[in-house]
Structure formats: structure tokens, C-alpha cells
Amino acid sequence: MSHLQSGPSMLHLHQRLLAYPGGPVPIGQEMIALLHDLIARLAPAVSAATLLPIYDLPQWEEPEDRERPDTLLLMVWLLADDAFRGLTLYCDEVVGLLASCNALMDSVHPNLNDEDQREELIRLTLSGLRLKPQNETDQQAQDRLLMVSSSERARVVAASRAAEERAESIRKALAEKRAREAADKYTRE
């Protein structure tokens, strides 16, 4: 039995992210208004108390680079797509996702030209709302989220690097041994 609601297709959401319009990142009241509108649109039954966490977001600070969107803004852009209309979403989950999204990925400023980072952002968004991509099973959605997870990736890449370092030290030791043997042979001759 499926526990996840079927959402938009991955292809559509990739295209949505690639169509991000750019421009200065909204801050302060402008950002709060954006979040309000989005939440009210996705989950109309929202209450003032549920919205409280979004006021804790550091949206009043001037970012270092106003041209680089962060995870929150990209997620807002993604969820504003018409493909999310008509889905049953819960306001506490939407607010919870938006309030925590900047800590979900390895990078606070995902690179939209990187397919893997787009994929991770989309899957994290869907997962946070208990959705799965169109035409995927629950298991597939979970497996694929794990595949693009930056925390999982950091773990396995660290293991790969450690294995390579071990192999490299063995290679160096062997090369030194061969060099010593060659020098010994040369000396004998």
C-alpha cells in the first residue's frame, strides 16, 4: 500500500528549476509576503500559530550576494508551480519544510546547472511534503532520494577517498621498493 501521494513528474520540476527567472533575492517583508502567499495557496487552512516558524528565518539580513538564490527561495519557486495545485498538502508540513530547508542540502546555494543538485532539491521538497514523483513507487522514490542525498554522498565519498589514500600509500611503498631493488641490482653489477 502506498503511503506517498503522487506529485508532479521529475522532468517537469527539473524544467521548472531551470526556468528560475533570476534577479535580486527578496528580503525582509518582501520575502515574508512571498512565503505567506505560497503557504496560503498550497494549504488554505493555515493558522497564524502555524506560520510562526517562518518569522524566525533570517530573512531580514542582507545576503552577501543578492543575485544567488538560496535553497529557500528556489523551493518557493518550485512549489509555486501550478503542478502542485490540487494536491492535498498540510500547512504544518509546508511550513516545517520551508523553515528547515536551508539546512537540508550540503550547499545553501544549490547550483541549478548541476543536474544532481536540482534532483536533490526536488526530491527533498517532495519528500518533505510526503509526495513522490509521478510514475514512481514509494520504494523507488526513497531509493532515489538516498542516491542523491548530499549527507549520504559525503559519507561514501569520504570512504572512497580513504580507500584511495590507502591504495596510494601501497603504490608508493611498492614503487620505493622497486627503486631500491633496481639500485641494489645496479650497484651489484
Binding site: S107, A159, E168, R171
Partner: protein
């Protein structure tokens, strides 16, 4: 499936497979092979399909296809082979570059570069086909899944699973450990990130695989033999054109910021070598030895010596200059005097067919072919006369072996020879070292390859100038003015020993200068000037003899190190013969 319906099915898919890459692609139909014998004759021994980049011909072993249960995957197999022609490696130049780049990233396992190149280009092509066409490449690999898989096979298949978001153990047999999962993720990143700059990706991919290859080389060869569709891709290639290598750092992908989206400083902070462990590959040209090994890795059937000839011929091409010519009076009008033998290497337009047919029988180049000889009458207008070249290259132990490393004496010699031959001169090339170590052309010739084969030989012995050859060549005055050039070091002093008949070398040397009609040049790698009285006492004897030669009229060009010999060769024409007539006369009549 019987042969005919099977063949019709595959033939029907060929055009569709071409259109997956481009509507405008025109490639001849594959060579369909129906049994082991035919496959062996075509050179298709391990794999069920392959491509030859030289002939741009795809080959498919239909019997092997059936045995592996791939009858239903004609589109996938054919589109994949076309991908090697269209995408990677696409042509021989890129194939050779790819192999050279991979070899640099596989220290100690260079012999496995063809395997790695094949796996890597397969990944690039299959990723394109799976993502952008109806091809089901994953289904092909499911059919090829072995009962027992090596670690490298597991890694390779896991890369596909990650690229195509397949559930674990779709193509792999067992779950992988953390480090192997990390390697698989990095492998998939290489394909995604370096899809366009795929030579850099090749270097990263080879570095990623090195650990697996060193652990089980034989297992890797055995497991992937069936996929080796570019192992002999260079078959039929003539081996011309030395590829330039782009500057690529040899770096493990886990340290590549473009792959892991980390700045190098972040990687360092984790306690790893980061950029410090990168080996800078500075985009240098290949050495002759590497060039030969890359050609062999590409499946090119060529000898080391022929590869060396091609290497040097290609290396001097940017430097080619007109060969020195001497001013002589020009005739008011050429008058036909008779005929002489036309030899291969002469201009075919000069063949006098009437005289050739008069000689009887079928024309045999160089035997019965003749060309007209015209008298050069009149003295009013000067014209340029091409001097022949008599080149002596020192190949003693103090010189580098041109077949293994770049040899500047050989390079300078090749440049002089090719310039001379292009200008219409004849050349005599002699490679010399110790007594009875002398290789020479068959007199003065016009055949470039023969001359270059002599130049790219090597003895590496002691030093004894070939006085007998010098004596015989200049026993009589030469009819064509000849430039005599010796590329050597202090070993040239052996020219002043007695020859085998007891004739003093000084006498032969003086006669050479009298009879050559041109000039004699020594280009010598010497530690100090000829008149210097300092230096090792054991050199003083040699220097004394060389001073005798200079007094006789040899023009001594001292160079420090062998590299300036190439500079000499480039300057040779301009300095003495491309200036005004007065300069020319000084040069030819010192």
C-alpha cells in the same frame, strides 16, 4: 532465430539507429558476420560488435548476438557502435589523445588503457542513448550480467545504476561497500559533469579505476572482453599525426572540486592532499616511445621504427623551410639534350612517356621510366640552383635514442632532409657510430621515407667517423653542388684518424671540401669554444683536431646542448642562401 530473418531484422534497424544520432549521418552498412571463423577473419574475437575508426565500419557477429540473447536489442547495439563514430572517441586523433591521457593516469598499469578507454566511452554513449533516445541500454546489460562478478564489474554496473536511477542489484549482483558506493557515485558524476570535456573526464575515470585494475588485472580483462568494441579501433591506421595532449591534472575524482562541489580548501581541511596530490600534466607533446605505445594500444599495426619515422616527420612539419639554393647563371631558353632515368620521388609530370615506351615493355618506375634532360644555356639572368645534402648524424652512446626519446640531432636531420627534398634536392644520409656501425642511404636519393628511416635508427656505440664513405663520395668532384653537414659532438674529431687503407683523415676531409662544390658544416655540441684552452686535458686532443678541420674550411657551429641543433637547421637556409648573392657566395665558397 535463423540467419535470414535475423539479418533482415538487424538491417531494418540500421537506418533507425543512424537517425538516433543524426538524420544526416551516412555510414555504410555494418559488416554482418555469421560464424566464429568469419569473425576471426575480420578481427572480431572477443566482442559481439565493434567499430573500426579508420574505415568507419561497424562489425556485428550475429551468431554471438544470438548466443548472448541480444537478438531483440539491435537498435541498442547498433546505435552504441555508431556512438563511437559520432561521439566518443569519434576519430583516430581523439582516440589516440584519449589513450595517451588515460595512460598518464594509470602509472604501472598503462597496458590497460585500451580497456579503460573502452569502458569510459561506453559510459558516455550509453548515458546519451538511455537518457535521450528510446534505447534500453539497461536491458542489454541485464542480459550480460555474469554469474560471478568482479569488483570492477560491480563498480561499473553500479555507476550505470546511479546514472539511470535503477534500484540496487538491477545490474549489480550484491550490495556494495561504502567506498565502492562512493566510487560509483564519483563515476556517475564524471559522466554527468565531463560529458563535453570528456578527455579530462577520462583522466579522472582512469584514476578512479586504478585501484581496481591493480587488484585484479586479469579479472578485469576477462570480465570486460565481451564489451571490448574499440580494442582494435585503430586497425588499418597509418600512424601519421602525433596528437597534442591537453593539460590535464592527474587527480583522484574525490579531490576534484568540479565533481564534489567543494572548494579545494574544503578538501584540504578534511585532512586530504587536495590540489597538492595533483600531478600537473603540462600539455606536452608525446615522446616517441609513448607515441609508439599509444599507437599499439589503439590497435595500429606498426613497427617501432615506422612509428618513429612518422613521429619525426610530423614534428618538423611546422619548421619546414625552403632548402638553400645557390645562384647560377640562367639559360635564355632550355634546350633538350636527351633523357635520364626517372625515379620514384621525382615529379610524375616529368616522365617522358615517348622515351619510356621506347625502352620497351611495360613501364617499370625507376627501371624503364625516363625523363627529359634540358641544357642550361645562357648567362644573362641568375637562377636558383638547389644543392644536394650530404648529412652525417652521430649515433654514438652520447646521443639519445630517437626511438625512445625526442632526439634533437634526429629532429634537425629530418628537418634538413625534408626541406632539401621538398626543394628538389637529393640527400645522402648516414648514421654513424663505432667501426662497422654505419647505416646509410643508397647514395643520394629522393625517397623521403628511406632517408628518415636511416635518421631514426640508433647504434649507441663508440665513435668512429665513416671515412670510407666520405672518401668514396668525394673521390671525384660532384656535379651537383653539395652541402655536407655533420651533426655530432667532439666525436667529429675521429674524422682525422686514418681510414682502413691508411689514408689520413685530414686528406679525406680536405678533398671533401674541395670536391663537394658547396660547403662543409659541423654542428657540434661542445662544452666550450674551439679556441678555448681550458677544460679537461682529455678533450684537448679532440679540440686540436677540430681546429685543423676548421682551418681546412669546415664551418663550425658550436651549440650548447642538443636542442639548438634544431635552431641551426631552421637558420641554415636563411643565413646562407636566402640573403643576397654576395652572402650566398661567401657561404658556398668559404
Amino acid at each position: 532465430m535463423s540467419a535470414d530473418p535475423q539479418l533482415k531484422h538487424w538491417q531494418a534497424q540500421w537506418q533507425r539507429a543512424l537517425q538516433l544520432w543524426s538524420d544526416h549521418l551516412q555510414l555504410q552498412e555494418p559488416l554482418w558476420l555469421f560464424d566464429v571463423q568469419a569473425a576471426n577473419q575480420a578481427g572480431l574475437t572477443d566482442s559481439f560488435a565493434a567499430i573500426r575508426l579508420t574505415s568507419q565500419r561497424v562489425m556485428v557477429n550475429l551468431q554471438e548476438i544470438s548466443q548472448r540473447g541480444l537478438d531483440d536489442y539491435a537498435l541498442e547495439v547498433l546505435a552504441h557502435e555508431i556512438g563511437h563514430h559520432v561521439y566518443a572517441p569519434a576519430n583516430m586523433t581523439q582516440h589516440l589523445q584519449l589513450l595517451a591521457v588515460i595512460r598518464q593516469a594509470l602509472p604501472g598499469s598503462e597496458q590497460l588503457a585500451p580497456l579503460v578507454a573502452n569502458l569510459y566511452t561506453d559510459l558516455l554513449i550509453n548515458q546519451h542513448l538511455q537518457r535521450h533516445t528510446p534505447c534500453q541500454m539497461d536491458a542489454v546489460y541485464q542480459r550480460l550480467k555474469p554469474t560471478t562478478a568482479t569488483a570492477l564489474w560491480q563498480l561499473y554496473m553500479r555507476i550505470y545504476e546511479r546514472l539511470w536511477q535503477l534500484p540496487p542489484e538491477t545490474l549489480t549482483s550484491d550490495p556494495l561497500g561504502s567506498s565502492e558506493e562512493g566510487d560509483a557515485w564519483l563515476g556517475s558524476r564524471i559522466i554527468k559533469v565531463y560529458g563535453k570535456d570528456w578527455l579530462t573526464g577520462a583522466s579522472r575515470f582512469a584514476t578512479l579505476l586504478l585501484r581496481y585494475l591493480q587488484d585484479d588485472e586479469q579479472g578485469a580483462n576477462d570480465a570486460f572482453g565481451v564489451l571490448a568494441d574499440t580494442a582494435d579501433a585503430g586497425n588499418g591506421h597509418t600512424g601519421t599525426g602525433v596528437p597534442a595532449l591537453p593539460a590535464i591534472d592527474v587527480l583522484h575524482p574525490s579531490l576534484d572540486p568540479d565533481l564534489i562541489d567543494q572548494t579545494p580548501s574544503t578538501a584540504d581541511a578534511d585532512g586530504n592532499g587536495g590540489a597538492a596530490s595533483a600531478v600537473r600534466s603540462a600539455g606536452q607533446a608525446l615522446e616517441p616511445q609513448e607515441y609508439y605505445e599509444v599507437l599499439r594500444a589503439a590497435g595500429v599495426d606498426i613497427s617501432r621504427h615506422d612509428a618513429t619515422v612518422n613521429y619525426y616527420r610530423d614534428a618538423v612539419r611546422p619548421y619546414l623551410l625552403p632548402f638553400p639554393a645557390r645562384s647560377t647563371p640562367a639559360p635564355s631558353e632550355p634546350e633538350r639534350e636527351g633523357t635520364t632515368l626517372w625515379e620514384p620521388g621525382d615529379d610524375p609530370g616529368e616522365i617522358d612517356w615517348f622515351a619510356t615506351l621506347l625502352a620497351g615493355g611495360n613501364p617499370i618506375p625507376g627501371i624503364t621510366t625516363h625523363k627529359a634532360v634540358f641544357s642550361l644555356d645562357g648567362t644573362e639572368q641568375p637562377r636558383q640552383q638547389v644543392c644536394d645534402l650530404d648529412l652525417y648524424v652521430d649515433s654514438s652512446g652520447s646521443m639519445p635514442n630517437p626511438q625512445y626519446q625526442l632526439s634533437y640531432p634526429a629532429l634537425a636531420g629530418v628537418l634538413l632532409c625534408m626541406s632539401a627534398l621538398r626543394a628538389g634536392a637529393r640527400v645522402q644520409v648516414t648514421l654513424w657510430s663505432g667501426a662497422r656501425q654505419c647505416l646509410t642511404t643508397d647514395g643520394f636519393i629522393r625517397d623521403e621515407t628511406s632517408a628518415l628511416r636511416v635518421l631514426t635508427g640508433f647504434f649507441g656505440g663508440s665513435t668512429s667517423f665513416p671515412l670510407k664513405l666520405l672518401r668514396d663520395t668525394y673521390a671525384q668532384p660532384r656535379r651537383t653542388p653539395t652541402q655536407v653537414v655533420v651533426l655530432s659532438d667532439d666525436g667529429v674529431s675521429s674524422m682525422f684518424s686514418d681510414d682502413e687503407e691508411g689514408t689520413p683523415g685530414a686528406e679525406i676531409s680536405a678533398r671533401t671540401l674541395r670536391h663537394c662544390g658547396g660547403a662543409g658544416h659541423w654542428v657540434l655540441d661542445l662544452p666550450m669554444e674551439l679556441d678555448s684552452q681550458t677544460g679537461h686535458p682529455w678533450l684537448q686532443g679532440s679540440y686540436e683536431k677540430m681546429r685543423v678541420g676548421r682551418d681546412q674550411g669546415w664551418q663550425v657551429h658550436r651549440v650548447s646542448g642538443l636542442e639548438p641543433m634544431l635552431t641551426f637547421a631552421r637558420r641554415f637556409s636563411r643565413q646562407y642562401y636566402q640573403a643576397n648573392d654576395a652572402t650566398s657566395q661567401r657561404a658556398t665558397r668559404p
